[in-house]
Symmetry: C2
Subunit: 198 residues, 2 copies
DNA sequence: GTCTGCACTTACCAAGTGGTAAGTGTCCGC
DNA sequence: GCGGACACTTACCACTTGGTAAGTGCAGAC
């Protein structure tokens, strides 16, 4: 793993834990036994490093999304898999999930606002897919977005809560909830879209 | 409104927008045309101010929660109202919602970790209420927590997304989704708990 | 050998950080 | 009029911030 990639990985971990302003470039470099000027040598500025972290994350999500879109044609199945895949990715890399959540919270545009150019097409895809599921029932884009947001919110929120829940109730209960969660999500999506089709 | 309360309100707004580390006490004071020492005079330290902001927020949520627990006995109705009330509060004060979300993300304990002593009893109440809805079906605490988290995640996530969604798609679409969202939440809870009762 | 590019260092900077100390003015009870 | 509590100020502190400048050491090319 190149020094550069190591920087990105370390930065992702720290940014996820304490946020952009909560981490100094010196702290990131120190974690790797280097000086902050080594970091600046590779990335030029703190913002650019942050941008690269976001870019790597959104790249992974987009790749995963594209694959599902290519392989699943049935809209209900596609929508379900898109949400579940996103959930699995976030559970597998919870630092990434936290970072994206932080990006969602920060209303100021920063470092190219990387969350946008991945999140927007992703959301558009989800909304379009949902709208194509049952053309019979009239459904506005706003209503579709509301439904999508339930799914994503339920998934993302849970993926991000491990530290807090672990601290509150112990990791055992979180892990127990985790065992059920994916299935719960699947049922939630199914029941929502099935009821909607009535 | 006292200077002190103004400080808390201003701090809440700024902390919500940029996080604890992203805002300096000088910036907060400057917004009110005062010096940072005026702020320190009232609160002693940045952490204490932050703590007071969290305390005010959690106080409101707890008051609202207690009232519902006192007035609703039917568990399904109580659970639904608890989640919806939380959602309404968060939509009414989106800065507060963002702050709590940030608190959820920060795994380090800080400023008394105010989110804990409000969030934990709140979650416990929700889990207990859910478990009492249908004692016939065996259900573990972890499973109950998973269900609860779907509801809260869907609500909280949406409440926090206005800036991002507004930037992405324009406020019109967000407002349209918003019109439907509370009803969507209600249906989601109902269908989840109704199916569970089968 | 010497030159070049690369990864990385030490040294330094202006600006900003949270916080302390010591006032300054103003209102209020007496 | 006076003493003290209160709200707030200026002045200052040690420290950290992101970033620049100028090397240093070391590989490979010629």
């Amino acid at each position: 793993m190149s020094t550069r990639d190591q920087f990105i990985a370390t930065a992702q971990r720290l940014f996820a834990a304490k946020g952009f302003y909560g981490v100094s470039i010196a702290a990131i470099a120190q974690q790797m036994g280097l000086t902050k000027q080594a970091l600046l040598h590779h990335f030029g500025s703190k913002e650019k490093l942050y941008g690269e972290v976001l870019q790597r994350i959104s790249g992974e999500l987009m790749a995963c999304t594209d694959e599902i879109i290519a392989s699943r044609v049935d809209p209900l199945e596609r929508l379900t898999e898109l949400v579940l895949a996103q959930y699995r990715l976030q559970m597998a890399d919870q630092d990434a999930a936290r970072l994206i959540m932080r990006e969602l919270l920060d209303n100021e545009p920063r470092a190219g606002a990387a969350a946008n150019w991945y999140l927007k097409p992703y959301l558009e895809t989800l909304v379009d897919t949902l709208l194509s599921i049952n053309s019979a029932r009239e459904r506005s884009r706003g209503q579709a977005l509301a439904a999508i947001y339930q799914f994503l919110g339920a998934a993302h929120y849970f993926a991000v809560s491990q530290p807090t829940l672990g601290r509150m109730f112990g990791d055992a209960l979180y892990n127990e909830a985790r065992q059920h969660y994916e299935e719960e999500l699947r049922q939630m999506i199914e029941s929502r879209l099935t009821i909607a089709a009535r």
